[in-house]
Point group: C2
Chain length 594, copies 2
């Protein structure tokens, strides 16, 4: 029995100054966590109880699909990460350090390399596979902007699992097992989830899904359609207009360069076009020119992990902005920065403000890498910069007048855009990534030479899957979803206690009865938090109980004299009066029956 009088629990009436979101405010105010550095938290006793319960549910579902738990060290030597190229790729995201002999280490933000090497160390035959290994371990990531309490931290607990299979079919089976385990895990945690297609590009694999919890405080944007499509915005593919055939293209008006003074913005160019060439726009029925056709060209300098650089020009319909995260995902592991004046000076073929396919799209591959939005399909007609100041080209037809080195998914996704699978318009939704499963394939096994002998005695490269759950973040997400204006409202399965007993009054009988109820509840296997503070007013005890958020509480107070105690339900706010001798049974069924 946790007695509040001697527990290391203190509630605060004021929100912490740095808190933006409810879970952060409430977890700090209720004494569950404390900040020790930016993005680094202490788990106080009540918080630790919640954390352990979340971990236990995560473990249980991993064990249920044959997962075997182990624990890797946080300190990891440079060499394996060097072998897979990630020592450099990680960039400033990772904490690096040296030991006293100046050997390089990192604090592992993820353990693909170590899992791979350990399986290589222990296993060597197809008979050893499939294998599913996992750990629940403290990870480190030097986030640029740690935020929102436990939602984005620099030291956090993750469950990371890896599957090892002899072939793709095996990987599919392992992947489906984890997919099921994740659904059951989040279900038990009380966290609604949308499973979204994710961009697996950066991790080098094939199938990849994120388990996103829809919440306004989420950092991720994802899309859903009524027809069941769901994807991370980075993974959305653009529906391109149908490509015209050669004959149709040949029938389109010929391209022509026009003077376009002052039309240096998309909006101005659109207005100019409607004034100068009214009724000839290629898209609308009325022939009105829209911002869509004003093909926007943007120049970026890509920097690769090895430090090398390369210019990139992308083109997209003028009514769309670039989505930085989609661009980032599209060019990873390179990092894209908009061209500076110095960059323009180095590449005179690009005229700032008037970039067009001139010098880029006439031959492929062009001198400067040139990627277009998928909406720039063969036969589509555009207006673009003519490569010199105050001039634009009209009726520029893709596939006839210019080509590109490929397409790029960098344009923003909008509410109402069609889902790529034809399942209807998409809605943009905010969410928080709670889990991620993906088929790594053979990337790490190849880099670190993880092979086993197959049934014919031939060495074959193992194929891997990777499956992560943010355990720390799950605690925050649960708190964020389950609270009201008075405090936390824990789901029973992760609450730090089953029953919160309040002794409100001054007579010894009240405290004796509260104690008796507590002891009986414990003997029935329930966890009890007992507010036994002798000189604290009922009002303060009620407020603290609401803040702490234990699902069921019992008030032993003045009513005791007339044979009544109060059972309260934190979630519904309902209050039920029962006789003291019936309290234990009523509490047990409130907890167990739920």
């Amino acid at each position: 029995m946790l007695r509040l009088s001697s527990s290391f629990v203190r509630t605060l009436r004021e929100d912490p100054a740095d808190a933006e979101v409810a879970s952060h405010k409430l977890l700090v105010r209720a004494g569950y966590i404390r900040r020790s550095a930016p993005g680094v938290y202490t788990w106080l006793p009540l918080g630790l109880k919640v954390l352990r319960k979340v971990e236990a549910i995560v473990r249980d579902e991993q064990d249920a699909i044959g997962g075997q738990e182990l624990v890797f060290s946080a300190l990891q030597p440079r060499e394996p990460y060097e072998a897979t190229g990630r020592w450099e790729e990680y960039g400033p995201q990772v904490f690096r350090l040296q030991d006293r002999r100046e050997n390089d280490y990192l604090l592992a933000p993820t353990h693909e390399e170590t899992f791979t090497l350990t399986v290589k160390d222990l296993y060597n035959s197809y008979k050893d596979l499939p294998a599913m290994l996992y750990q629940v371990q403290t990870k480190f990531r030097d986030e640029a902007r740690p935020r929102a309490g436990l939602l984005r931290t620099r030291e956090f607990i993750m469950k990371d699992a890896y599957s090892f299979d002899i072939d793709d079919a095996g990987l599919d089976v392992s992947y489906e097992k984890q997919r099921g385990a994740y659904q059951r895990t989040f279900d038990r945690l009380g966290l609604p989830i949308v499973i979204c297609r994710a961009d697996a590009g950066a991790m080098g694999g094939s199938r990849s899904e994120e388990f996103l919890h829809p919440t306004p405080v989420g950092e991720d944007t994802f899309v859903v359609s009524d027809g069941g499509y769901a994807a991370n915005v980075e993974a959305v593919t653009t529906v391109a207009p149908p490509a015209l055939d050669e004959a149709a293209i040949a029938g389109l008006p010929a391209m022509h360069v026009e003077d376009t003074p002052w039309a240096s913005t998309i909006a101005a160019l659109t207005d100019f076009s409607n004034e100068a060439f009214p009724g000839t726009g290629p898209i609308t029925e009325s022939g009105e020119w829209t911002r869509y056709e004003m093909l926007k060209h943007l120049a970026y300098l890509l920097t690769y992990p090895d430090g090398s650089t390369e210019p990139l020009v992308i083109a997209l319909p003028g009514d769309r902005e670039v989505d930085e995260k989609r661009l980032e995902s599209a060019v990873a592991p390179a990092v894209a920065a908009p061209f500076t004046d110095a960059d323009f000076a180095k590449h005179p073929v690009l005229t700032k403000g008037y970039i067009g396919p001139e010098g880029l799209g006439l031959e492929s591959p062009s001198e400067i890498r040139y990627l277009v939005d998928p909406r720039v399909a063969p036969g589509t007609s555009w207006v673009a910069g003519a490569g010199e100041k105050d001039k634009h080209v009209y009726d520029l037809v893709f596939g006839r007048d210019f080509t590109a080195d490929g397409t790029v998914e960098a344009a923003e996704v909008r509410d109402g855009d069609p889902a790529p699978d034809g399942s209807g318009p998409m809605r943009l939704t905010r969410g928080m990534e709670m889990g991620h499963i993906f088929q790594l394939g053979r990337k790490y096994a190849e880099a670190l030479d993880l092979k086993v002998l197959d049934v014919n005695g031939k060495a074959v490269v193992v194929t891997m899957g990777s499956y992560g759950i943010g355990v720390t973040r799950a605690v925050a997400a649960i708190a964020e979803l389950h609270h009201d204006d008075k405090g936390l409202v824990w789901p029973r399965q992760v609450a730090p206690a089953d029953v919160h007993i309040m002794a409100t009054g001054k007579t010894p009988e009240i405290f004796e009865e509260a104690e008796r109820i507590g002891i009986e509840l414990e003997s029935r296997g329930l966890e009890v938090l007992y507010d036994d503070r002798p000189k604290v007013s009922p009002g303060v005890k009620f407020k603290d109980a609401e803040l702490l958020g234990i699902p069921t509480s019992v008030v032993v107070g003045k009513g005791l004299a007339t044979g009544v105690v109060e059972i309260r339900d934190r979630a519904t706010g309902s209050i039920e009066e029962v006789a003291p001798e019936a309290a234990v049974e009523a509490l047990v069924s409130a907890v167990r029956g739920a």
Copy 2:
């Protein structure tokens, strides 16, 4: 049921190349751990089970004395460690790193500062005290020489607890509680312990005891006497001869300088003295000169954490060597390095090889700090360097002819030296530090301003105790103590499973019966490891079972045809034949009855 056919367990026949001690060899060979970097290990599934059981016992005993668990981050910002002076004091022992904003962090090797600050954050009244807080957490230490597998690692799990009390009497009570909890913990872990007085100097506290487990592979040397004295060698105080009074001193022969050509070593000087002045030695009945009286002077340069330096001369009887660890402990937090020729050149008062009290011990404080062994008591008579080449002083009497700035405990402790409490001669013993409890007192509370209001409303500084157990090391110590030449022999309470079932044979009946026994044992609440590998010979299964070290095993093999299975006890080697239908009951009582 852990089925060996699909478990991430592989045994090795060969010892790992870098292993020196049995626990290291066996834990690696049996597939409990793997090295991932020098002094950094992976816990494989079986090892993790042992670790979790050790942790659970440690937690249980902490909870039993009212300990409240929390968890601090490994990443800790520089500032609090700066405030207590430990950022510098730690030296190269600690892993330091910077985040992307170039803020300094360390990977906490211990959390005194954070515990102190957190209590300051939550508590403010004497009513909040006493408090006992603990964590079981991963710690980091950049050991110069990680060794012996899990015995000395750079990333390890510790239980560290801190007590907070309003006064010294309270601290004594908290200290005794932990002392009892530690005795019960090590008792339950099956680790014999000697509680030794420890030098608390470096930690700034008063009472301090180490829980040393006697073992030849231990790195610590401690002493015990038949009368019950036990101390870490660093904490042993020297028994000084009785001091003579002034009258007695006045009666001693006067000091005289003698030419001592070629007598540049203690041995040569002793021989010379016996030749030149036979029968006049001051200690032996026969008047023989011994190495004891040849007072050895050694010059060191002390370097303090802030980088400042200071010379130090120490004097000790010529038959004793300096014990580096005792010296280190005596001068901490400074570090002592023997004088170089350059140091001698800077301090011409010290003549290399002929240092004596000349210029040091004639007045106090002398120009150069001068400390003597406690055996150099008032009235004792010595031979020492005369401060110039080839000359020594005879009949040099302490308290008459020279004095010092104090005493120093730097001389080696020897088998047979008298215990300081008069409990008889001491024996030197090798041991491993498993736990350490000490009264920190107010050092950290003062540095970080942890005060509470006392009963009169006056702010008083809190007094603290610190209590650590090396959890990772405990696993190694248990393995080291409980093994034989065939493998590990786990005590039941920490074994990775209760029963190891071996199916040895080829008929389906054998595997079915083994499976049935396993399922029944699990339904009785036992943990089962089942060697169900189909094509592995009985010999290999027996060898693996011995290596893995589960306390009780059952062999279901050929005997099944004649109605017999074998129950084996790993520790005693006993084999008992029972009928298959009696096996479960026999196994349950073997496990439970133990």
